[in-house]
Amino acid sequence: MLIAAVSTIVVVVAIAVLVPMAPGWDRVERSFFAGDVFTDVFDDLLGAFWLDVKIFAWSAPTIVALALLIAMARGVRSPALFPLRLFAAVYTDVFRGVPVILTIYLIGFGVPGLGLPRPWNSPLLWGSVALVLAYSAYVAEVFRAGIESVHESQRAAARSLGMSSRQTMFSVVLPQAIRRVVPALMNDFISLQKDVALVSLIGPIELLRQAEVEKSLSGNFTPYVAAAVIFLAVTIPMTRLADYLLARERRRTGATAVA
């Protein structure tokens, strides 16, 4: 404990003292850490961040629902439903394989080009759809891992009790599977929280774009630092929560940590 504290203090002090001694520090400080620019732009950035929050708020539940459907589709065992399985596999392959940014460009610019009337051609709508499609592929894989981690004997037991295959899935498998993958899911949502900013590429002014606009208006990079601070204020608590959930899950399942 003492060693950890001392070594932490030494490293932090070293950075705080040494970095400003670099010959270019004055300029870096003026370009990235200008207090006046920071206070000038912070309110605007915070206002723009509200759009990120909104996109996140409507995308995240949609992703969970769609991903669950896909994960279950990949797990269907009836031969008649094989096409469903195939579709789910192709879906995850495609959307996990394409960078999120490309999905946003292609769907965000492509679909509205079909001639949809306003407001159905809104980049906010189609940008969110692109995010949902991309993230559902990742999250579906997490759910699938969770579903497959439930031991086969549990299904056998459920079926032998007379439960239907559907009942087995919803009452026995999924409750355990979801609980197990919650920490992993948190990771994906932290990542989503940042990728929401990519929607700005097709028009809407959210935090990242607002920071870019302010950077361009002021000729100074401080708005980027301010935007990073705002993102961190949200993602760090989420990360800590994910860690906590992971630790709890580990305690619950009886695994012990080895230093």
Binding site: G24, D26, P112, E212, S216, S218, F221
Partner: protein, 315 residues
């Protein structure tokens, strides 16, 4: 000391702030605002030129004297433009040809400062590279950087070499066609290109009812226009001419705003490494070029023919 320097370098490199240079005291105090119009030159740095007062010959001489030893390499002037650079600022993306407004201005300024055509070298940079701290790989950077007081606090600008106005571009069947005053435009959905002063113009002068969208490039803006996500985009007038003629088929300039709409002209200045003493010499050169009519001639040569676009009044 040497070791700690090395550590610092590593730390900074890790933080992606790669360029560390020895530099003098960087005065970060407020500098004079660089928003003058007309022929008086007010740079973004504290050094204002008196080029407009000097006689042509004397100014030319002093610009050349002034520039001596102040460039990255003695006897050579490195000028940066955009990538790609587009007409009418640079023709055919080839700044060395001297064809195109900014290419011609750069060579004229270089000439005033005693650099012949062969001593001028071109490089490319983005806006971000022009404003990032640290050593620059150019002496002068010109690519339609608008001089604003806010920017001038963080970047060193030359005196203005062009005053531009903003224009509205849309398809010929756009709702905006025929608008003669800003109030007729307020109901429209606007788009702007990221990194331009046009977005500020939309927000401050047009003040539309719906928030504008922003795109990385004209291709994005074009797609949004075609998808009817936006009704019109705002660009500086010369760029608007290029965009309507070449980049966005079927688009037209719906109107142009007065040069001083929004309180002040959108003036282009060259960008220098913060507090680069060369700015003084460039201001002298620009003053001389303005005085002897060369700047006017270059402007006439490359930046005319825009006047036909209908005017939009600002209330």
């Amino acid at each position: 000391m040497l070791r700690s320097r090395a550590t610092v370098s590593l730390l900074l490199a890790a933080a992606a702030m790669s360029s560390i240079v020895a530099c003098g005291d960087s005065e970060s105090g407020d500098t004079t605002s660089a928003s003058s119009t007309g022929s008086t030159s007010a740079g973004g740095s504290a050094t204002t030129s008196d080029g407009s007062l000097a006689t042509t010959a004397a100014a030319a001489q002093s610009a050349a004297e002034c520039a001596e030893g102040k460039t990255l390499d003695d006897g050579r002037l490195v000028v940066a433009t955009g990538s790609p650079a587009f007409p009418p600022y640079v023709m055919d993306d080839d700044p060395t040809s001297g064809k195109g407004f900014e290419s011609a201005v750069a060579y004229a300024v270089a000439g005033e400062m005693g650099f012949d055509k062969e001593s001028v070298e071109w490089t490319r940079s983005t806006f971000d590279q022009a404003i990032q701290p640290g050593a620059k790989n150019f002496d002068i950077n010109l690519q339609q950087f608008s001089i604003t007081p806010r920017r001038a606090r963080n970047i060193t600008f030359s005196a203005p070499y062009y005053a531009s106005n903003q224009a509205v571009v849309g398809f010929e069947d756009s709702d905006a066609v025929g608008a003669t005053s800003v109030s007729e435009l307020r109901g429209l959905k606007f788009g702007a290109q990221s990194g331009t002063t046009s977005l500020g113009f939309i927000q401050d002068v047009i003040q539309p009812e719906q928030e504008a969208f922003v795109y990385n490039d004209n291709v994005g803006a074009k797609q949004a226009l075609e998808s009817n996500q936006i009704d019109a985009i705002v660009l500086d007038l010369p760029t608007a001419f290029f965009v309507t003629a070449v980049e966005i088929e079927g688009s037209t300039i719906i109107g142009q705003f007065p040069v001083d709409a929004g309180g002040q002209a959108d003036e282009f200045g060259m960008v220098f490494e913060k507090d680069n003493p060369l700015v003084e010499c460039v201001d002298l050169a620009l003053g001389a070029l303005r005085k002897n009519g060369t700047l006017e001639k270059i402007t006439q040569r490359w930046m005319t023919g825009f006047a036909d676009a209908p005017e939009i009044a600002v209330d």
